[in-house]
């Protein structure tokens, strides 16, 4: 595209080098190597308990790896938080919490506003735009707990987008929404990938493989070839049991992941 390289346009947006994470002396992640470039759209699939959420939390700096290095635009994750947008698995918030849609989304501007400073005109414009992007502007003054599951998810997407991230991390984003909402959601991601890199983890191979550009399989170890092609052998290694593959058009591969 002939753009001038800036720090944010560093060719290696995310770099994980031999990352190991242990929980109670059991390895959760083993020797993860991963590079994510600007505008990559990576789906990571794997069984429950395979370390998907842990991997995201490592990139977010919420979990420090026991071994290895994590760099976001060449910096440790804790120093790169202003470029990361995060949509957690199921936001475990108190449904009765006294807060409305607008204030939840504004919260996502914190990294730009900073300590002691109030949210300004710029932040409010960004919040309005983010809410418009997810078609939730009309419900801006509704208390968040009164929204449906799909609407809540859109609010949390807006909260992640409002900070204008370069890297969007999503944890099982379609776990609690119906099929229609899922389709809308992936269409939104299609648009978003023009301006940011996206990492999406899910155990839903079928849905993920249609939309993402690259797929990695994670079960403590990451099987990742930098392409959307996954073969039966990789899936079998990931899930620890043979997976039945159905090859649709566009090389889409779906299967029934072994649960647990």
């Amino acid at each position: 595209m002939g753009k001038v390289m800036t720090v944010a346009e560093n060719p290696e947006l995310v770099k994980l080098e031999d990352v190991w994470v242990y929980r109670e002396s059991v390895a959760v992640l083993e020797g993860i190597n991963l590079t994510i470039k600007p505008r990559d759209f990576l789906g990571i699939i794997g069984p429950n308990g395979g370390g998907k959420t842990t991997l995201l939390k490592v990139m977010l700096g919420l979990i420090n790896p026991d071994r290895g290095r994590v760099l976001i635009t060449g910096k440790p994750p804790a120093k790169a938080r202003d470029i990361i947008g995060y949509i957690p698995q199921h936001s475990l918030f108190d449904r009765d919490f006294p807060i409305n849609v607008w204030d939840v989304v504004l919260m996502g501007r914190y990294g730009r506003a900073g300590l002691f400073r109030g949210y300004g005109e710029h932040d409010r414009n960004a919040a309005e735009q983010a809410l418009r992007d997810v078609s939730m502007l009309e419900l801006r003054s509704r208390q968040v707990g009164l929204l449906s599951g799909g609407e809540q998810q859109r609010v949390f997407i807006a909260r992640a987008l409002v900070g204008e991230p370069k890297l969007l991390l999503l944890d099982e984003p379609t776990a609690s929404v119906d099929v229609n909402t899922q389709a809308e959601f992936y269409e939104l991601l299609e648009k978003l990938k023009e301006r940011m890199s996206i990492v999406l983890v899910s155990h839903d191979i079928g849905a993920v493989s249609i939309y993402v550009d690259d797929i990695g399989c994670l079960n403590r170890r990451l099987f990742y070839h930098g392409t959307k092609q996954i073969d039966a052998e990789t899936l079998e290694k990931t899930y620890g049991c043979p997976i039945h593959l159905v090859d649709h058009h566009h090389n889409i591969i779906s299967g029934e992941p072994g649960k647990g």
Binding site: P98, I99, F116, E151
Partner: protein, 280 residues
Amino acid sequence: MPEILQYDFMRNALIAGLLASIACGIVGAYVVTKKMVFISGGIAHAAFGGIGLGYLLGISPVLGALFFTTTAGLGMGLITRRTKLPEDTAIGILWAMGMALGVIFIGLSPGYAPDLFSYLFGNILTVPPSDLLLMLVLDVVIVGITFILYKEFLALSFDEEFSTVIGVPVEALYLLLLGMIALTIVLLIRVVGNILVIALLTIPAALARQFTYNLKKVMLLAILFGALFTFGGLWLSYIFDLASGATIIMLSGTVMMVSFGLSRIRKQPGRAKEITKVKS
């Protein structure tokens, strides 16, 4: 009620009640929304150690309590954040140790401990003017901090993990919040005593939450309710010649339970309607 206002102690009591309500309304809103009632109870009971220390050293028990509540609050916060000890266990231990220290200190103090009962259960009628000044200063500190850090505390209370991700200094703010709880408890000790403090820290805010989904309004309503409860409790205790602190608590608790009962009857159909409307 005018004739009771002729007395200085009664005017002081009303000022004390108002000053206490400001702190407990604001801090109580966080205690209730962030579900910090148990840790607040722990800090309040640990205050007894400081009251005992005050008697032993011959200084004001309120100052001793201030030292103990802040130490206990920060201690509980750091232990639960940085060690693997479960939060409720850590709170339970410090809760009991604070009270045990109080008993030991009072035992070591020469002679009889005057007014001990008023620190345990409060006596708003004996608040000296010097304490009113201290309460005013603590109120200014609490209001100031909340004003400056409102958006940070809101993020922290709503979603701690996300707050960390967006760079909110979560641990420092949590400890600051515990410090504010500690200050509020000291402020309330004169009014209702350290055993009953937890009621004034939770009831006005919990009641306010039934009427609004806006945290700022929860705070303002909680201040209003706190003031009404202290004034009303004081008045009832004067009429029926009852202990003022305990009467304030009984009035607050009764109103809370009645309101909760009414809201269950009133809210249920309305809320169900709201949800179906959203889904359609």
